[in-house]
C-alpha cells in the first residue's frame, strides 16, 4: 500500500519533470512560429519584422486613417501593400474636413524619420499633384531600413492648419 503511494508520487513527480524538461527542450523547435501569431498582435500594414534592434514602443497607433492633432482634418493615406526598403514610391494622401468634405486646395508638407534612431527621412518627399476629391499625390517617399517610422504631414487650407503623424513598422 505504502509502496504504491510512493510509486504514484514518484510517477507524478517524474511526469512533471519530464513535461518541464520537454517543454524547455522542445520550445525552440516550435516556439518562434507558434508564438509569433500569439505575440505579434495586430498586424500593422501586414508587417512586423522587429528583432534584435530596439522594438517600437507598444500602444502606437498604426491606423492609416487618422484625425489630425487638433481635430481639424480627417486624413488617410494609401500606398503599396508591402513597402519595400530602399524603394522610392508614392503615397496618396486624402484630406477631408472633420465633417467629411474633401479639402480641395491644401498645402501639404512632408517630414518624418525614426525616433529611436534619431534620423529623418532619406529623401525630401513632396506633394506634386492634386488628384481631385481631396486626394494629394506624395512623391519621393523612401525608407532605408526596417523598424518604426513616423511620417508627418503639415496641412494648411485657408486659415486652417493642422498636423498628423502616421506610424508604420517596416520589416527588413
Amino acid at each position: 500500500m505504502q509502496n504504491k503511494t510512493l510509486k504514484t508520487i514518484l510517477t507524478i513527480a517524474l511526469t512533471v519533470v519530464i513535461t518541464i524538461i520537454a517543454f524547455i527542450v522542445l520550445m525552440p523547435m516550435f516556439g518562434p512560429s507558434f508564438m509569433h501569431t500569439l505575440m505579434a498582435g495586430r498586424m500593422h500594414n501586414g508587417m512586423n519584422g522587429m528583432h534584435g534592434d530596439s522594438a517600437a514602443p507598444s500602444g502606437l497607433d498604426y491606423a492609416t486613417e487618422r484625425t489630425t492633432d487638433n481635430g481639424t482634418f480627417k486624413v488617410s493615406y494609401t500606398t503599396e501593400n508591402a513597402i519595400a526598403i530602399n524603394q522610392m514610391h508614392t503615397w496618396v494622401l486624402h484630406v477631408e474636413t472633420a465633417d467629411g468634405q474633401p479639402v480641395e486646395d491644401a498645402t501639404v508638407t512632408v517630414d518624418g524619420g525614426m525616433p529611436q534612431h534619431g534620423h529623418g527621412l532619406p529623401t525630401a518627399p513632396q506633394v506634386t499633384e492634386y488628384l481631385g476629391n481631396g486626394d494629394y499625390l506624395v512623391e519621393g517617399m523612401k525608407f532605408q531600413m526596417g523598424g518604426w517610422w513616423e511620417v508627418k504631414f503639415n496641412i494648411s487650407a485657408g486659415d486652417l492648419t493642422d498636423t498628423i503623424t502616421f506610424n508604420l513598422t517596416l520589416e527588413g
Partner: protein, 414 residues
C-alpha cells in the same frame, strides 16, 4: 512486464526524447519567421533584374560595353599615359586597389570604391556627388590627381584610336582636326592653360566635345553595369534555410558564422545600413569615422548633395537621356540638414573582407578595428554619429567577422 521494467521503459523513452530534442537544437539553428524574412531580403536571389538606366540609352548595348571595356583598361587616357580606370579598379582585386587613398597620376583624398553592383545605386562616390555610372566615370578623367587629362585631349584620343568603334555606336564623329578650334588640352579642369583654352572655344565646339566626352562615359558605364557579385556561401545557406534544408545549412555555415549572422541581423544593428541583397542601402551615414590629419576637411554628403545638384552631367542635364520624371532620386533628394554632415555612402559588404583598408580614407586597416569602432560608437569629429554603442563581446565581434567571410564570392564582369 513488471512495474520496474515499465518504469525503465518510460525512463528510456524520456532519455531518447530529451536527447533527440537537444540534438535537434544543437544541429539546427532556428530562425524566427521575422528573421527568415530578413534573411530573404539579404539573399542574392532577391536582387531584382537590373532595370535600364533611363539616363543612358547605350547602357545595355553590347557594342558600347565592349568599347567601354577597352576604354576602362586603356592607360593612354591619362596625362602620363600610365593611368586607366583599371589602375585603381583592379579586376583581380574586386575592382578596387587595397590602398587607403587612390593613386592616379597623383594621390586623391579618398579611398577607391568597389564597382560590383553599383549599377543598382542611385548615387556614386563616397559623397554621392554623381547620380549615374556614366557621369561618375567622367569625374576621374578630368581630376588632376587621377587621369589628369582634359576633354578635348580625350576626344582627340577617341578620334585617333577608336573612330570605328565610336561611330558604330554613336554615329559620325565630328571633324576635330582643326587644333585652333579643338586644342590638344582644353576643359574645365584645374590646369589653367587647359581651362583658358576651353573658355576660348565657341559654345558649339564645346558642345561637340562634351557630347564625345559624355558618350565615353556612357560606354564605360555599359561595361561597368555588368560587374556584379555572384552567389556566396551565405546565399547558399539562405536558400537552404528558405527551403528548410537543414543538411545543406549545416554543411554551408559553421556555428560561429551562423552566430555572427544572427548578431548581424539582430543586436549588432548592421542591417540598419547594410540591408538588401547587396548589403547596402546606398545611402549616406555619419558613423563617427575619424578624420585623417593630412587631408583637408571632408563634409561628405553635405557637399556631395550640392555638387550633384550643380553637376553639368546629372540626370536632369541635357546630356542625360532621361525624362525629368525619370530623375526622381535627384528630384526628391535630401539636399540639406545636419544628417548630411560627414555622412558617407555605405558600401556593399559583399567581398568586404577582401577590401582592407576600410572607410572613405582607409582609416581602419582591419575588420577588427572597424568593428571595434562600431562597438564603441565614439562621437563624430563633425555632425552627429548615428550609431549607439553595441557593447558586444570580443567573441561576438569575431563571430560577425567570421560571418562577413561568408559574403565572399566571385565577381562577374564581361
Amino acid at each position: 512486464m513488471s512495474e520496474r521494467s515499465k518504469l525503465l521503459a518510460g525512463f528510456g523513452l524520456l532519455v531518447v526524447l530529451v536527447a533527440g530534442g537537444l540534438g535537434y537544437i544543437f544541429t539546427r539553428p532556428t530562425w524566427t519567421d521575422a528573421e527568415l524574412v530578413t534573411l530573404k531580403t539579404l539573399w542574392i536571389g532577391s536582387l531584382p533584374p537590373l532595370a535600364p538606366d533611363p539616363s543612358n540609352q547605350y547602357g545595355d548595348d553590347p557594342a558600347a560595353a565592349e568599347f567601354g571595356k577597352a576604354l576602362f583598361f586603356d592607360t593612354r587616357f591619362s596625362s602620363n599615359e600610365e593611368v586607366a580606370c583599371a589602375t585603381c579598379h583592379l579586376p583581380e582585386k574586386g575592382f578596387q586597389d587595397g590602398l587607403p587613398l587612390a593613386q592616379g597620376v597623383g594621390t586623391t583624398n579618398r579611398r577607391t570604391m568597389p564597382i560590383a553592383g553599383t549599377a543598382y545605386s542611385p548615387w556614386m562616390f563616397w559623397d554621392g556627388r554623381k547620380d549615374s555610372q556614366w557621369s561618375q566615370a567622367l569625374g576621374p578623367l578630368e581630376n588632376p590627381v587621377e587621369h589628369g587629362g582634359s576633354r578635348t585631349f580625350y576626344a582627340h584620343l577617341i578620334d585617333e584610336n577608336y573612330r570605328t568603334e565610336y561611330e558604330a555606336i554613336f554615329g559620325e564623329l565630328p571633324d576635330l582636326s582643326d587644333r585652333s578650334r579643338f586644342p590638344e588640352a582644353a576643359g574645365p579642369v584645374a590646369d589653367e592653360s587647359a581651362w583658358a583654352a576651353w573658355e576660348a572655344m565657341s559654345p558649339a565646339d564645346r558642345e561637340t566635345v562634351n557630347q564625345i566626352f559624355v558618350n565615353m562615359g556612357k560606354a564605360i558605364a555599359a561595361y561597368e553595369r555588368q560587374i556584379m557579385p555572384t552567389a556566396s556561401r551565405f546565399d547558399i545557406y539562405v536558400q537552404a534555410a528558405l527551403e528548410d534544408d537543414t543538411q545543406t545549412m549545416n554543411a554551408t555555415l559553421s556555428a560561429e558564422e551562423v552566430e555572427g549572422l544572427r548578431l548581424f541581423i539582430g543586436p549588432a544593428n548592421c542591417t540598419r545600413c547594410h540591408n538588401g541583397s547587396l548589403f547596402t542601402d546606398n545611402s549616406f551615414h555619419n558613423t563617427g569615422v575619424p578624420t585623417v590629419e593630412s587631408l583637408p576637411e571632408d563634409t561628405g554628403r553635405a557637399q556631395g548633395a550640392q555638387d550633384v545638384l550643380a553637376d553639368e552631367f546629372n540626370c536632369l542635364s541635357a546630356y542625360s537621356d532621361a525624362e525629368p520624371n525619370e530623375c526622381n532620386e535627384l528630384n526628391f533628394m535630401l539636399a540639406e540638414g545636419e544628417e548630411l554632415e560627414r555622412a558617407f555612402k555605405a558600401p556593399s559588404l559583399r567581398n568586404v573582407t577582401t577590401r582592407a583598408p576600410f572607410m572613405h580614407a582607409g582609416q581602419f586597416t582591419t575588420l577588427q578595428t572597424a568593428l571595434n569602432h562600431y562597438n564603441t560608437a565614439p562621437a563624430s569629429p563633425a555632425g552627429h554619429n548615428e550609431l549607439e554603442p553595441l557593447n558586444l563581446s570580443e567573441t561576438q565581434l569575431n563571430a560577425i567577422i567570421s560571418f562577413l567571410y561568408t559574403l565572399n564570392s566571385e565577381i562577374t564582369a564581361p
